[in-house]
Symmetry: C3
Subunit: 675 residues, 3 copies
């Protein structure tokens, strides 16, 4: 970690402020375009580009034959222009010759369908051949550019697991058996963990074990859960194999890889330990009314992965993407607004996919910093304006947020387990549940961290636990301890159900959470599609209801009507010096908002700024010198006036300090107190 700290210091010094730029794929263009590229980068305030992500087939046109000449020229051009390079190991998409020589490197779906070349990421994560070729290439790249002045940061692979979340081929099966042997030691232990006494699934030896391939009906859930773990680990092993090379060849250069928009595939808490800095690709949908809230939650996760350390927005779209059914453009001002939102949530880079819009290939309709239409376009002009704005700024780069009042508990193992099949209701999804709890906090401009179960919670006034289906005893104890010591806990239904092997806790839900919640769940009553159930004193619930038996908790709201009428729906338990809330249904949004108002009031949770108009969001980052940078974002399509608690100076505006901030539609302010 100390080495990592040094590497990050070096990177920060190199970048100076908020990094600005995008993916640069010069191999798609003749060399004469490169000069214009560099000129326009300077005009647009570009300080860093991601280079070489898809260059494998060009730099290694045949196995072991390398052609770096053209790449040298690009590196030199960028160095001359003082554009830092986030240099890819180039291993994200193998060249066609690999599949031809080694068809066994191609991944297979659970139904045996082979995934062929023609797109990208067509490799089995467990393939020894792929890993050998990839690390050999990484070694070449590292050795060649170890001392190049453009090199600022390593970009290992790209969007691991984006398209191939898991492979089910025979090579993977062999690797899975090794992984299981390491995890369980004996086949008896495996049988116990997987509950193989059920359905006659007992294994006599590891050799009999297979990936959870297509089967006649519901597959063993513990096997599937372990396969999710294994798949995350195998992709991580790919990353680590390259990281090992780079750390050896260039020990002083920081390392990262870019994570895709919040997804189930990788256990990012585990991955984050092996990166020097988190990188994130964020693609909110302009057609989605909740896009900004959804994005904000992802940013809070990224910032939290390494304890508040600033992260890099490695990719976002200048305007539309190309992979949705209908790909909306970002209206004027939105790209800037959402870029600042990332900064508000801790980003130290604002980067895009990609620099120049492709003429051909599968992403040619993905917007780019330099569109097909060239520089005389709204997109380029907004890109240039933002780049210049950031470059001119005494920026909040490096600043971290002050201690947040609220933590949301999240766990990839729970996510995997929660979304297995054969559950009481297949409508339960982690991300949706998390967002339901995040929204009322987001709308109130309350800062949130995201923590894994078992984290130190002592600094938080409120801990929110959405749908923690899988919970281990130790983690439950940690939550209990937190409340006993005065904390406020809010847990939603279908939590505390199973252990890490997807075995129901003895006595059923909420398992080890029962003491702190002061209740038992005696039966789940999932609702039909579209069904709602009344709540008393007011509101309604959807999706879920259940039969509670209170053992210390009090009912704050009850079901009203139907079979569960009169039974508790929302409970509160005074426990030790603290309070634990429980939701046995999904309240409608208005009820959820009122509930959070009450919970926050009781817990003493404060927003970043009070009294903000609807649609206005504020976050704060605290610089090393103690300066608080408030970012205020107007997500509304109308101008608003914001009353500030003290006169503040807007670093993005022209006026002097004021306590009455006027924000244009989609406007942004970067405020510091007028000291």
């Amino acid at each position: 970690m100390s080495q990592s700290h040094d590497r990050m210091d070096r990177l920060r010094r190199r970048l100076g402020g908020i990094a600005y730029g995008g993916d640069y794929n010069p191999e798609q263009w003749p060399e004469e375009v490169w000069d214009e590229d560099v000129r326009l980068m300077r005009e647009a305030g570009v300080s860093m580009v991601s280079l070489g992500i898809f260059s494998w087939a060009m730099v290694e046109p045949a196995p072991g034959e390398y052609d770096f000449g053209w790449f040298d020229r690009v590196m030199d051009l960028l160095a001359d222009a003082d554009v830092a390079v986030c240099l890819a190991t180039m291993t994200a998409s193998p060249p066609p010759w690999l599949a031809r020589l080694h068809p066994e490197t191609l991944p297979e779906r659970e139904d045996g369908t082979r995934l062929w070349p023609g797109a990208r990421q067509h490799y089995c994560p467990s393939s020894p051949v792929y890993r050998e070729r990839a690390t050999a290439l990484a070694e070449q790249v590292a050795t060649r550019y170890r001392d190049h002045p453009a090199l600022a940061l390593w970009h290992i692979g790209n969007e691991y697991g984006c398209h191939v979340r898991a492979c089910y081929c025979d090579v993977s099966a062999e690797a899975f058996r090794r992984w299981l042997l390491a995890r369980y030691g004996t086949v008896d232990e495996l049988n116990r963990a997987w509950s193989t006494a059920f359905w006659s699934q007992r294994y006599g030896s590891f050799e009999e074990v297979l990936p959870p391939r297509t089967a006649p009906t519901f597959r063993n859930p513990a096997q599937r859960l372990d396969y999710a773990r294994f798949s995350s680990d195998e992709l991580l092993a790919c990353y680590l194999a390259e990281r090992e090379v780079l750390a050896r060849v260039t020990p002083g250069v920081a390392l990262t890889t870019n994570f895709v928009p919040l997804a189930r595939t990788l256990d990012l808490f585990e991955w984050a330990r092996h990166l020097d800095v988190i990188s994130y690709d964020s693609y909110p949908d302009p057609h989605d009314a909740d896009a900004a809230a959804r994005a904000a939650f992802g940013y809070d996760v990224m910032r939290s992965l390494r304890g508040g350390q600033p992260w890099l927005l490695m990719e976002q779209a200048p305007s539309a993407v190309n992979w949705r059914t209908r790909n909306a453009a970002k209206p004027p001002g939105v790209m800037r607004l959402w870029s600042w939102q990332a900064i508000a949530h801790g980003a130290d880079a604002v980067m895009f996919f990609q620099w120049r819009q492709s003429r051909g290939g599968a992403e040619k309709f993905h917007s780019a910093m330099v569109p097909h239409g060239g520089t005389d376009t709204r997109t380029f002009q907004e890109i240039r304006d933002l780049g210049q704005e950031l470059a001119a700024l005494s920026s909040p780069a490096g600043a971290r947020p002050p201690q947040a009042d609220v933590a949301i508990v999240m766990d990839w193992h729970n996510w995997w387990a929660l979304e297995l099949d054969a559950h009481p209701s297949s409508d339960l999804q982690f991300l949706g549940a998390a967002l339901e709890h995040y929204l009322p906090l987001y709308e109130a401009s309350v800062a949130c961290d995201v923590v894994r179960p078992g984290a130190d919670l002592s600094g938080y006034r409120l801990v929110v636990v959405p749908n923690l289906y899988l919970v281990e005893d130790g983690d439950a104890a940690s939550l209990e301890e937190y409340v006993r010591n005065g904390g406020t806990l809010l847990i939603s239904f279908f939590s505390g159900v199973v252990d890490s092997s997807d075995r129901v806790h003895p006595g059923g839900a909420p398992g080890p959470l029962a003491p702190v919640l002061g209740l038992r769940v005696t039966e789940f009553w999932p609702l039909a599609q579209g069904e709602t159930v009344g709540l008393r004193p007011d509101g309604s619930g959807a999706l879920w209801s259940e039969e509670l038996r209170l053992d210390g908790a009090e009912a704050v709201a009850c079901f009203d009507g139907g079979e569960t009428s009169g039974r508790p729906a929302i409970t509160r338990h005074r426990f030790g010096a603290g309070t634990a809330w429980y939701l046995a249904t999904r309240p409608d949004p208005a009820t959820m908002r009122r509930l959070y108002d009450d919970v926050r009031r009781e817990a003493g949770v404060e927003p970043v700024l009070s009294g903000l108009p609807g649609g206005v969001q504020a976050r704060v980052r605290r610089a090393g010198d103690g300066t608080d940078y408030h970012v205020v974002l107007n997500h509304a399509d109308e101008p608003v006036t914001v009353r500030l608690p003290v006169p503040m100076r807007d670093h993005l505006g022209k006026d002097g300090p004021t306590d009455t901030l006027r924000l244009a539609a989609r406007g942004v302010a970067l405020l510091t107190a007028d000291v």
Copy 2:
């Protein structure tokens, strides 16, 4: 049959009354739990459990190595507690070693996707290896427990065809060719039956024939129909292979296997000949308003399969299941109500899946008699109450219903053929059609049998024939004879279309049914989705219309509006001493109810009890001594008062005989006349 009769006598003596219990899977629990299990079983009135269904991998951990010790202990414990055992042959789910040693035992879908281990039922029904291993195991089990006092009934396999309705692998192809050779003798006969002159499909030899695998477009329907027959037969052959062993080793022990909720897969009329007693698994959905009627129809089928012989409700859920999208709990009282409904329709057992709720595996959220929450739960209490109620009862076990007035014609061959593709409308489904006709009879508490085409119909006042697309000449003659002799027949559209090889009858629909119906169908006019057509004098039709030419029949209702306006929609034909009705559309439910009122009045069909309030259903079983046991079920959520024709005593209540029965919401009465 006489041997079967002896075996059933012995079983009935052993069980005494209505058997009560569930699937018991002790291998999922440490031995210390077994003692508590047996204690709770006694408390809950459990008289029989199904044992060993998924024990293969535990009793034969490696090929040919058997470990029965632990199973002995369970059998002894149950014998000591006087709990009878419905003992499984343990062959429902092969252990992992089988797939490893013999991957060719794994089934394949029609698109070639292999179905792997990890769930259950992953065997090709035609696999000689699977059958050899399964019968060897059955021999071991039978030999070991032939004289064990707990052994009461054999449970062969489990839910045959539930997940793998058919296999399309090369082993199956070979078996299909043998089956075809036996059926057709010569390839010329095959070509004729399959209409292979169409689309150049003529076979030169049996060796060229394949299962109906995925093809460029609609596959040969006769080939698919024969594949459905073959698949039912191959699963039956698996059953018979084990049955042969058991019948040899324990000639005095009754044999059964449990059928899944009414499904297309198996020709149960054929299967029923080879069971001593029918067993049935029933899983009505509490979210479904028609759940009880749907279940009742299934029960009538089960009772009818062996001519009114009582059957065993082998599995139902104590509360929720786990395999629907949203799994509703059974509200209080519903489990008892629906259990009594099964008894009312002829069940001599009320059993559940499963005894103790699993901690792990794919069915851990399926409710059980002993829930995760233990005995201090609503579910266990309702289970115990019902068990005690049944145990205390001078029960109607063994009693059969008196002669029903109504028979509904059903045929698996027709079901298979009706739901083939490339039909005038793909909305035609047998089960939905049957239910449309069953509902008005069910609501009026009219008892129905279910018979196959060609059955003796002389005892019935009304015979209902929903969508008998496939009808053979002999079966049509039987219906004609029935009407000629004074019977009332009601046939719905798209009947009499093809013969047993899915060849249209000469002259088209209704083929050999034309004389008795007194009409010809000159053209089908399927309606668009959501389209309805008016009926005169009132009502409307949906789904279907057609152009009739009457030849003796009279129009009772006509189409009103659209292209068929004025043409007959419902017809009646006085034929011989009887009457034949025909429906050329699907009337709306209210019109259907009025129609059935008219038809019943004409035919002299009587309900079990008259003048019942809405939502109340009555059925009767007649004991050997002539006592009529009336079961009256209140499906409504409100209490009702029922006027009885004579004073009756309620064996489940505390009051004396009365002619004014008060039933609680979801209440049940078991009545005998007060003699």
Copy 3:
């Protein structure tokens, strides 16, 4: 072409007038039925039948063993009855022995699923074995019947590509590599065309190239586009291999193959060059309100494929088909009305699938000229009446339409490219777009031709270009030249985007169409599902909007509301002596109709007949002697009165010449001026 002309002359002399008949499959029936068939054909005015389409397995029951005896008898019977034979080469559906001997002839889907025998068309189009067997059979058939008096026309294969649009097997992969080598010469050129610098897809040699099989994400679009070209070409090669045999053996007999209802699979402009006459299968859905318009557009395409030459309606349904989800019957009169519609649009044959309705197989519920119900049916009577009507007629056979005012531009390469994935909106479909433009012209009885890009446009007053996403520079120049010389051009959005390798034109849309349109598209703004945007002065747009920068064009309508409010939505550009219109959204139908009224008025486009009532459509064909045959079709369900410009005689009616034509509901008139 001159040879082709001679062959067509011979065919026309043979047929005399409008050919009438259908597919005849005598092998499905015993020989005694054949006599009745021929008798009924004469009664029904049948002049030609398509014979032998699925006879392969019957005439070649084993490889190389031919049995033509039964077929000889059919041919002789038909010759005796003076029924011409459109003789199939019998190669559409290989017999089962081919797949058994050569499983590698079976096609594979892109996910590797093999398509097995049991339906039809189960051959890989690139299979050398299939082609060898097919041409051998064609040689046998041709040699045997070269001089048979019944032989009138060759029917090669059948509905090429109907069910297997492309095959992805290893044999196809090999053929694809050869095709690419021929197209590109060098792998460098391939890399350039396919933009393989993107996503590391650069090929080192042709050996590395594969079909675009299932891949982790979006596959290379240029690879997919070329695979569509290759697949059309491979099917064409199958056709040409047989054609070569027939042209050699029977140089004087015309050749055709029947195209399926307008589909994306085959580049018909390319195919049309190799047929002597176009044949078309048309299956409008009676449940579809736009069925007649949709069909009319297909007919205009067919007529246009060979420059206005009359074409053959080779298949239509006498009433219902069997392959839709719900197969509506054709109401009385509709079969005649739609048959005459085909004639109005240039058909010289009215034929059906099939003569006698099958008893078995996958199409037994497809209506036929002789239904299951026999001759005493509405269907047969309408068939016979139409046959006699046509036979009695001094028909417009051979007549071509006069020069149309309007041309619609269509291109299969564009169609393939437009419907690739990863586009701004996946709602863009060529056929739907074309129909939106065709409808207002169709409703106004304006005659349209359909031309490929680059065609000679000088004769047209208006050229309509729907969604020409793919446009090459030369084709754009041709459109520009057309407008410069005074033409009126109307182009809809998302046109001029890419070149023939799916590479975006430099500067973006509308690429080389920018000068003539006088605008640039700076950004696409696809709308959300169901979203509409207002238009000023009136109307609304759906599906799409975009940001235009005008460079000479004027805004005729603007967006009203939303982010694009005030920006141009419909533009007009005076260019040279002509005018070019552009639509940046999809106007609602009423607005589209008003727009077309305006454009037509400006361009001087005239309907075939003016002042027709709603639902009435008119078309005209001009005979060699200059006689104009007007066909007037009343698609409404009510009778109408039509004012004619001059007194005309109705060849289908009984009354004398009139200028006030009364048409029954679904009535037809065939008019000539009363000279």
